[in-house]
Amino acid sequence: MRKVSGYTRPILALCALLCFAPAVHAARVGDPAPDFSGTDSQGQPHKLSDYKGKFVVLEWTNNGCPYTRKHYTSGNMQSLQKQWTGKGVVWLTILSSAPGQQGYMTAAQENAYLTDEHATPTAAILDPQGLIGHLYSAKTTPHMFVIDPAGKLVYEGAIDDHATTDASDIPAAKNYVTAALTAAMAGQPVATGYTRPYGCSVKYAD
């Protein structure tokens, strides 16, 4: 057994590596979407599991981020919200910016922003502690998730395939959220379930 002792350090190193590796993806495509609860900018509570039976879109946002602005100044995000909530999809915009960070909004500020931008998500959930953000390992704004009526995560990643801040790229871009919802609603498998999200880093407290 003495020979084994030489391997104690590698074993410890391996354990250390695994134990301290950050939870890069807490939610994985194909698995059940982790349940969460939060309060929206109107003061209303929301719980993901209450939306079983419906498609749910999660959209991470930060209105100071140029990538988010690309999709709001162009009206692209608003039209997606309108299109899909019109088809019964629950669209939850989530703000995980910490107080003092870019994109942090009080309830009143967020309500004014939604009105100004003519944005119509089902709700804008205020997550200044980043609890929902960390639960989903939301990395960027925007970072999009699509959850099916069974509560399974069917898409995670970028909003589209043009990873730029240039709004003129939107017409030619393939929108992954639209593709995922269209396929899943037709009972088809989602062809692209995961892409690298693009945007600004989420401005968490830590």
Partner: protein, 323 residues
């Protein structure tokens, strides 16, 4: 109150022509340098004259304010690399931007890949044998970038330089400062592994083991993946010295479903050496050589590793459910 942080549509609005002057012969205005928010961009073209059939290296140079960064070709968890659209005279062509070895840029629980301080992206120019313009020519570059610190700001500028044509290379001259600048960053470009170097990888329960043979014992190294979505960028990379190089354990991206055929990227050593590698799947013999000596111990370690992984995954799940 950051409700309406306004960011200019294009940082070129803020562009200050630093070196605006009229080229003596042609009268075309030159703007080799543009100053924008948090950086200065410069088009660097060392030759004073351009002649048929030559090739030379220039580049796009960024000088950044402290704390701000621009990105590598794979930006990591967020961000995007700079891009250039060239406007060049007939007979002159530019290759793609080349990317010097990057640095890890930790940002909370994310890791991006890029550059702080300053960087030049070398570009190879080719001049056709038929190059025979009537007068001075202008090389134009529309440069677009994303510059980030805690926040990100996209910017763009149009840069240009004017050069006189020459019939041949006889008596050709270069701007010494520009040449030095280009060479400094050309030398930071990843090189091929020195022969008989090689790189192989194998996949093991959520990790890649990447073996890089450089011909000497290496104590530490950092791998930068060329392709996104293969490894967890923020995860630590465990390094194990080997007699002929090093082995790195890279945590896989958890959304990875298909095993890649290639692991392409850059391996950087603490002394500044950087190699471009295309690691192929290791043969069983190579895997055995790269792995632990002794099958029994290997199995023991695999079981221990599996238990550790299971514990961690369970722990993660429990932690995640608590929210």
């Amino acid at each position: 109150m950051r409700a309406r942080l306004s960011i200019p549509k294009s940082a070129s609005l803020l562009l200050v022509p630093c070196a605006l002057h009229l080229a003596a012969a042609g009268g075309a205005p030159e703007e080799p340098t543009g100053t924008a928010q948090h950086l200065t961009a410069q088009l660097v073209v060392p030759p004073a004259q351009i002649y048929p059939g030559e090739s030379f290296t220039g580049g796009v140079y960024f000088k950044l304010e402290p704390g701000w960064h621009v990105y590598w070709s794979n930006a990591g968890d967020s961000g995007e690399p700079p891009r250039v659209k060239w406007t060049l005279p007939q007979g002159l062509s530019a290759g793609a931007l080349e990317f010097p070895a990057p640095r890890r840029l930790p940002l909370g629980h994310l890791v991006d890949y890029g550059y702080e301080g300053e960087v030049l992206f070398p570009v190879r120019f080719e001049v056709a044998p038929s190059f025979q313009p009537a007068g001075p020519v202008t090389l134009g570059a529309y440069v677009h970038w994303l510059v980030c610190r805690e926040i990100c700001i996209p910017g763009s500028t149009t840069l240009s330089v004017t050069r006189r044509p020459a019939a041949s290379g006889a008596g050709s001259a270069e701007d010494a400062a520009d040449t030095h600048l280009v060479q400094r960053f050309e030398s930071a470009l990843p090189q091929p592994l020195p022969p008989p170097g090689y790189a192989t990888f194998s996949a093991h329960s959520g990790a890649f083991r990447l073996a890089v043979a450089t011909g000497r014992r290496e104590r530490a190294a950092q791998f930068f993946p060329l392709d996104p979505n293969l490894i967890a960028n923020a995860a630590p990379q465990r390094a194990e010295p080997r007699d002929d190089g090093i082995q790195l354990t890279l945590v896989q991206d958890e959304n990875l479903t298909a095993r890649p055929q290639l692991l392409r990227g850059v391996v950087e050593f603490p002394d500044g050496r950087a190699y471009a590698i295309r690691a192929t799947t290791a043969t069983p013999a190579e895997q055995r050589a790269a792995a632990w000596k002794g099958t029994v111990l290997g199995v023991v370690l695999a079981v221990l590793g599996g238990i550790a992984l299971k514990l961690v995954l369970d722990w993660r799940e429990r932690r995640n459910r608590r929210v």
